[in-house]
């Protein structure tokens, strides 16, 4: 199972201790009642999992083997034709590569940026609680408002970005179209790195101060002590950010769509600058602009499988490099 290292961190299954059997009840019957109760409690989630996750995925799998357009009732089974087409469609492959690049750039950048900020606001400086709050604030802004704000800043004629360029004597740039649109998108993503900061900060607060003091006594430099003490100890937290970050980046949809120069852009995602047509945008266009529900479902399933494979690979690498062992609570369970 892909999530096993995670389970180990959370200390999950072994963690729940059965309550001591009382002398008045027979253990066997109690166990039975507790099992029934357990299923009573997890039932809503389990039903939701089947109805709202497993079934839709299965439905998408079936659709992906038809030529459905979402409307006409007589969709025909076409087998793997959509998948074959997908693998030979240059546009799809290009979108896939672009999304991979986007992920490879934004995920490390937000994690490193977040860690950098976390290290800064973890220092004893006046007003650090205020700094933490303010740096986190952009991450709280709903994606729609964040995207629209960036659209206003990078507007060609009236935006602050071009005004700044003009002030230093550089010619204005049409930011929201190719080739610059992608940089705006990356900046927008980076603006929200307060999220990573908060998670890293939580990790940093678990690093025992004595370790750094001991390292200093032994003559270690700040960098050495960061590299050899801090990073290993917070590696589970960084690892978590890598996993969730990659999964989120691969599905990025809204910001590129809303950054498009046309108003009310969702109606025609095909008008997007090429550089910002990420995978999910492409899927959306196939569904709602081209009404190719079968092909789009195949695209969804391919993304799903890619995410599964990538997650499995990261967990494999993570199992070797991530250091679990500081949580004193884990030892005795």
């Amino acid at each position: 199972m892909t999530a096993s290292p995670l389970t180990a961190t959370a200390g999950a299954p072994s963690r729940v201790r059965p309550a001591a059997a009382s002398p008045t009840t027979k253990p066997a019957r109690r166990g039975c009642r507790r099992a029934g109760a357990f299923y009573l409690f997890v039932a809503p989630w389990l039903v939701g999992l089947i109805g709202l996750t497993v079934f839709p995925l299965g439905y998408a799998l079936w659709l992906s083997m038809t030529n459905s357009d979402g409307l006409s009732p007589n969709a025909r089974f076409v087998g793997l034709r959509n998948y074959r087409e997908l693998l030979s469609d240059p546009q799809t492959l290009q979108v896939l590569a672009r999304t991979g690049l986007f992920t490879a750039v934004t995920v490390p950048a937000t994690i490193v940026g977040g860690l950098f900020l976390a290290l800064l606001v973890n220092r004893p400086i006046p007003g650090r609680a205020v700094f933490r709050t303010l740096l986190y604030l952009p991450a709280v802004v709903p994606p729609v408002a964040a995207s629209l704000t960036f659209k206003l800043i990078f507007d060609r004629d009236t935006g602050a970005a071009n005004a700044l360029l003009e002030a230093v004597g550089v010619k204005p740039v049409t930011w929201l179209t190719d080739p610059f649109a992608r940089y705006v998108l990356v900046m927008l993503v980076l603006w929200g790195c307060g999220n990573c900061m908060i998670i890293s900060l939580a990790g940093l607060q678990d690093v025992p101060r004595e370790l750094h003091e001991a390292a200093m006594v032994d003559g270690a430099s700040t960098w050495q002590s960061f590299r050899r003490i801090t990073v290993p100890i917070i590696s589970p937290v960084l690892f978590f950010q890598v996993v969730t970050g990659i999964i989120a980046a691969l599905q990025t949809f809204l910001p590129p769509v809303l950054l498009a120069p046309t108003a009310g852009a969702t109606s025609d995602v095909k008008a997007l600058p090429q550089g910002n047509t990420l995978y999910m945008v492409h899927v959306y266009a196939q569904y709602f602009n081209s009404a190719r529900f079968g092909y789009a479902s195949a695209l969804l399933w391919v993304l799903f499988v890619i995410i599964l494979i990538v997650t499995a690979l990261i967990f494999k690498v993570g199992a070797r490099t991530v250091f679990y062992g500081v949580d004193p609570k884990e030892g005795d369970r």
Binding site: L46, V47, G48, L52, T53, I125, T149, I153, P236, Q241
Partner: protein
């Protein structure tokens, strides 16, 4: 303050300035006169607070706000209660198959939401649930993996003595959950409410897919409706509307900061 610490302080001030500058621009644009929108003006000559009023009155803003509030309210209350309920099961009870179910729960935290969204839309449309609030009721009633995990962590750390006497007295588990655990867990309940409310308030794709134009939510309205009669975006109203839309979230966040941070630190799976 040592020189080094002072340099650090200055660096932080600079970074914070950079991070807050988009907000500043949003406010500046929101105060501009329409005549100042065609070319660049650094600062509005005659700031127009009236833009905020116009942003609310020129489109049915309050109606959309009510839709947003309804959806976010329904979803956050239901998802919090359900997640607490399921979290209690994972934290306090055991049964064969629990281990594998918990692994699946954690795996679904990693599962892409959007991948199921479009097939879900097709299913909902077949069930006649498009353009109703039923999808949010169903999503709420099935809990959210992250919140279930949050509640599980919290409940698992509560002392066993809490329920022991109740179990001996033959008290049912739903009763134990409701009268003993829920009253003890208001910090997590609050965190969960704030988080889920914020998610739902910020969600765009769900309402775009599932609701018609006049039943849709605030983010969709803001992104699409602020244009002048010529069809050109009225950026000053757009900015003003966005600010009104953001403020509740920021206020909620500042108000419930601890819960937010607690939630996110647990999400680091320490």
């Amino acid at each position: 303050m040592s020189t080094r610490r002072f340099a650090l302080f200055i660096l932080l001030v600079a970074i914070v300035g950079l991070f807050l500058s988009p907000f500043a621009w949003l406010v500046i644009v929101a105060l501009k006169d329409p005549s100042e929108l065609a070319a660049l003006h650094w600062l509005p000559e005659h700031p127009r607070p009236g833009n905020f009023v116009e942003a609310v009155t020129s489109i049915p803003f309050l109606g959309y706000a009510r839709n947003s509030l309804m959806i976010a309210g329904i979803y956050s209350v239901l998802v919090t209660l359900t997640s607490a309920w399921v979290g209690f099961g994972f934290a306090r009870l055991s049964a064969p198959g629990k281990r594998i179910l918990f692994t699946i729960l954690l795996a679904t935290m990693m599962l892409p939401q959007i991948i199921t969204l479009i097939p879900t839309y097709l299913i909902f449309s077949k069930l006649g649930m498009v353009d109703t609030y039923w999808p949010w009721v169903l999503w709420g009633l099935s809990g959210a993996a992250f919140l279930i995990f949050l509640f599980r962590q919290f409940f698992a750390n509560m002392p066993r003595e809490l329920e022991e006497a109740a179990v001996l007295d033959g008290c049912s588990y739903p009763r134990i959950f409701w009268s003993i655990f829920v009253p003890q867990s208001w910090p997590v309940l609050a965190a969960s409410l704030v988080l889920s409310f914020t998610w739902s308030w910020g969600d765009y794709v769900g309402p775009v897919l599932l609701l018609s134009a006049d039943r849709t939510t605030l983010p969709v309205a803001i992104a699409t409706l602020y244009t002048n009669p010529q069809g050109i975006p009225s950026n000053n109203l757009l900015a003003a509307g966005s600010i009104i839309y953001i403020v509740p979230v920021l206020a909620l966040f500042l108000f419930a900061q601890r819960g937010f941070v607690a939630g996110f630190s647990t999400s680091g799976l320490k």
